[in-house]
């Protein structure tokens, strides 16, 4: 009995020792292998052809194929490039483009950073705030473009303000693919029928809403049910709720008069029933308001997504117009912005010249941007051509091309592009409360707190 016990105890002891030893050795192994990879993965800058890129590059190989990541909707861009440049060494890979806040771009880059290899050369992202993180960190992904890499003349060819989302601390880290300024969409024929004038100020907009509520109940002049609602209304209202002051500084003040004024305006119109509380993509919206949309402030891409879409509003040709962005009485008008894709080049690319060729082509060549692309190109020259082409179809009224072009240049630059998603904060904090009947003015402090909390966990100092 005693022998058994002692033996059992010794066996247990030995077992524990062996386990600890194994664990410790594995721990040590893990410790050694997981040492943070040396962030400086670059060799001496390659100046063999005399040009300096303005950042440290890896050894360049002019014949190396470039790997390009696009989403399914931008695959035609890659296809068009290959058709125009058949012998160009290029590998195209599709991914989800970061759509709907999936963060796959950032996730992959983080994984590659940890592994020390695997980065693609060129990436397209549907999110417009990726430069905020892609330009930062111990091993930043995005290559700066304006330090000698791209010609300034080319960069100047973009619509003024188009490259704002890609400019961090004064340096441009990527190129904009398309613009998405907000315009004041309205139904020309309904407006004429009801005898209303197109509003040019927010005050007139509100007055119009009050009139519509009384004279034509059931018709709407906007929606507040989407997560990009703040980008339509508060951005255009020049409310300082998303001011990115530096790489790690953010300020947010929802008690600013402009923010409060817009919140009051929205509350008023929601209460009057002229602002729909459903998302424009929801079945309810189409069911309830399909032909009752009098006015709809929103981004340019509503054109294809809602108005000419047979599965959505399915407007009759010639009835819909794009009105200019609204202004507060006595101030200059400002547009908001909802989206607009971005292109990046990796610092780790071994063929920066080819990457540049690809990027220049895909953002400014009419073969893709005018003939194939569905969104308003950010490069001014092709943007104008695209607008002219849209105007030719005659689906929208005559002022479409001019107004959109004007709006594209009126996007307020006081709204920043932080590392976190303002849309997600709005969706999480405001939408459920609005649906429960709370007033937006009452929710302003909670919104500010939510923005600041989110900013802080993402590394911002808030004020």
């Amino acid at each position: 009995m005693t022998t058994h016990n002692r033996r059992a105890a010794m066996t247990r002891q030995r077992r524990v020792l062996v386990t600890t030893a194994v664990a410790a050795s594995l721990f040590a192994a893990a410790a050694c292998s997981s040492a943070t990879p040396d962030t400086d993965d670059s060799d001496a800058p390659d100046d063999s052809d005399g040009t300096s890129y303005g950042f440290e590059t890896v050894e360049q190989d002019p014949s190396a194929p470039i790997t390009v990541w696009v989403d399914a909707s931008r695959q035609p861009a890659a296809d068009a490039f290959i058709a125009a440049n058949p012998d160009f060494p290029i590998n195209v890979e599709t991914y989800d483009g970061g759509a709907d806040g999936s963060g796959s771009f950032q996730t992959k880059v983080e994984a590659f950073n940890q592994a020390g290899s695997g980065w693609p050369d060129v990436v397209f992202s549907t999110q417009n705030n990726d430069a905020s993180w892609a330009s930062q960190g111990t091993d930043p992904f995005a290559a700066p473009l304006d330090k000698g890499y791209f010609e300034q003349a080319f960069l100047d060819g973009f619509t003024p303000g188009a490259l704002n989302p890609l400019t961090v601390d004064g340096t441009i880290y990527g190129l904009r693919n398309d613009l998405a300024p907000t315009v004041t969409w309205y139904n020309q024929s309904l407006l004429d029928e009801f005898g209303y004038d197109v509003p040019t100020t927010w005050e007139e907009y509100e007055a119009l809403g009050e009139k519509v509520a009384v004279e034509h109940p059931g018709y709407i002049i906007g929606t507040v049910g989407d997560s990009f609602t703040p980008e339509i209304f508060f951005w255009a209202a020049k409310a300082p709720v998303n001011v990115v002051e530096g790489v790690d500084q953010l300020s947010c003040d929802t008690s600013d008069p402009k923010a409060v004024a817009m919140a009051e305006l929205l509350d008023n119109l929601i209460a009057k029933g002229v602002l729909a509380s459903q998302s424009v993509f929801s079945p309810e919206f189409v069911q309830s308001y399909g032909d009752k949309v009098l006015m709809l402030p929103g981004p340019v891409w509503y054109a294809g997504a809602l108005f000419s879409n047979p599965d959505s509003l399915n407007a009759a040709p010639g009835t819909i117009a794009a009105g200019l962005p609204l202004a507060w009485d006595g101030e200059t008008p400002a547009a908001g912005n909802v989206g607009g894709g971005t292109w990046f080049i990796s610092r780790h690319s071994a063929n920066l010249e080819n990457a540049k060729t690809f990027l220049e082509w895909v953002t400014s060549d009419p073969a893709y941007q005018v003939d194939v692309a569905q969104g308003l190109p950010a490069y001014k020259e092709v943007g104008d051509l695209w607008l002219a082409k849209q105007a030719e179809t005659g689906f929208f009224t005559d002022s479409f091309a001019d107004n959109v072009s004007t709006a594209a240049g009126q996007v307020w630059d006081g709204w920043g592009f932080p590392k976190f998603s303002q849309e997600a904060v709005w969706a999480k904090t405001i939408i459920p409360e609005l649906a429960a009947g709370k007033s937006l003015v009452d929710l302003l402090p909670a919104w500010e707190t939510a923005i600041k909390n989110e900013a802080q966990v993402n590394g911002y100092q808030v004020s």
């Binding site: 066996t11 077992r15 062996v18 386990t19 893990a30 292998s33 997981s34 989403d71 399914a72 909707s73 695959q75 035609p76 890979e93 599709t94 991914y95 989800d96 483009g97 759509a99 709907d100 999936s102 796959s104 996730t107 992959k108 994984a111 940890q114 592994a115 020390g116 290899s117 695997g118 549907t126 398309d178 998405a180 993509f281 079945p283 189409v286 069911q287 981004p299 891409w301 294809g304 997504a305 879409n309 047979p310 599965d311 909802v338 989206g339 894709g341 194939v372 692309a373 569905q374 969104g375």
Partner: protein, 277 residues
């Protein structure tokens, strides 16, 4: 019995919805009742939209999933069944340590493990190679535990001891006595392994992107082409919601087929449960 029926309705109603939805046009999906049937024309249109997406990439995704899941399944069975058997009926030092270690590894959140596995695969240069998912998939502690519990509750040691006394070597005992009794658990483990691998998203997302993606990763691309989820989805690559419903069905079908196939073994092992004394 009425309880069972209630739950039949509970489980099946949303499935019926998906079946019906896949045959509707987008407009109908939004405006008609959930149980109103669609039309064959709409179903055909949805199908053609799905298979023409990126030139039929959905079949490539499905093929990848099948390849990864089946290969990993084979390795899983080859490693988990003997391991579970040894845990249940073997006698060796370290048995409890290994069982505990298995438990701990099962309990740690997967998110914490994926990155280290990715780094391991990257270190041996396997990223982008099928093995980068097949090997990690083959590690299936859940299956080991299932096998362990099954063997320890359904197979008496006496049976094995009798065989040993008769002169059978250990491997014989395992193959000739234990394995035939284990058909139900082999079917179970194989099935669960297949499903877990088929539905796994994060590891393949990191290790085999692009054309080698399995269906779950591919579906996120499909999702990003649906305007309702991504307003910037545009042009010919637009996927509508009913097509997505059809994709859902397509992604689920192989799992259901494997289920039906393995059910036969589950039932047939019923009386072979080795309990006759």
């Amino acid at each position: 019995m009425s309880v069972a029926l209630f739950f039949v309705a509970f489980f099946v109603v949303p499935i019926i919805w998906v079946l019906i939805a896949s045959g509707k046009s987008t407009r109908d999906l939004i405006t008609t009742g959930p149980f109103e049937p669609g039309t064959f024309a709409d179903l055909a249109a949805n199908w053609s939209a799905l298979v023409s997406f990126q030139d039929g990439v959905i079949f490539r995704w499905l093929g990848n999933s099948g390849y990864y899941s089946l290969t990993a399944l084979v390795i899983t069975l080859a490693t988990s069944i003997p391991a579970g058997y040894a845990f249940a009926l073997g006698t060796f030092r370290g048995r409890k340590v290994l069982l505990t270690m298995t438990l701990v590894v099962m309990l740690i959140p997967n998110t914490a493990l994926v990155l280290p596995i990715f780094l391991e695969m990257s270190a041996v240069g396997l990223i982008g190679h099928a093995l980068a998912v097949i090997l990690p998939f083959s590690f299936f502690p859940f299956g080991v535990y299932l096998t362990y519990i099954y063997f320890s509750t359904s197979v008496p040691r006496d049976l094995l001891d009798a065989a040993r006394i008769d002169g059978c070597g250990e491997i014989s005992v395992f193959l000739r006595i234990a394995m035939p009794l284990a058909r139900p658990v082999i079917a179970l483990v194989g099935f669960f392994s297949f499903v877990a691998n088929w539905n796994n998203f994060f590891l393949p997302f990191l290790t085999v992107p692009g054309p080698k993606s399995p269906i779950q990763v591919g579906l996120t691309q499909l999702l990003s082409s649906v305007p309702a989820f991504n307003p910037t989805a545009a042009g010919v690559t637009v996927i509508q919601l009913p097509t997505l419903a059809l994709a859902t069905l397509l992604a689920a079908t192989p799992v259901l087929l494997v289920f039906l196939f393995s059910q036969r073994f589950l039932v047939s092992g019923m009386t072979a449960g080795g309990t006759k004394e």
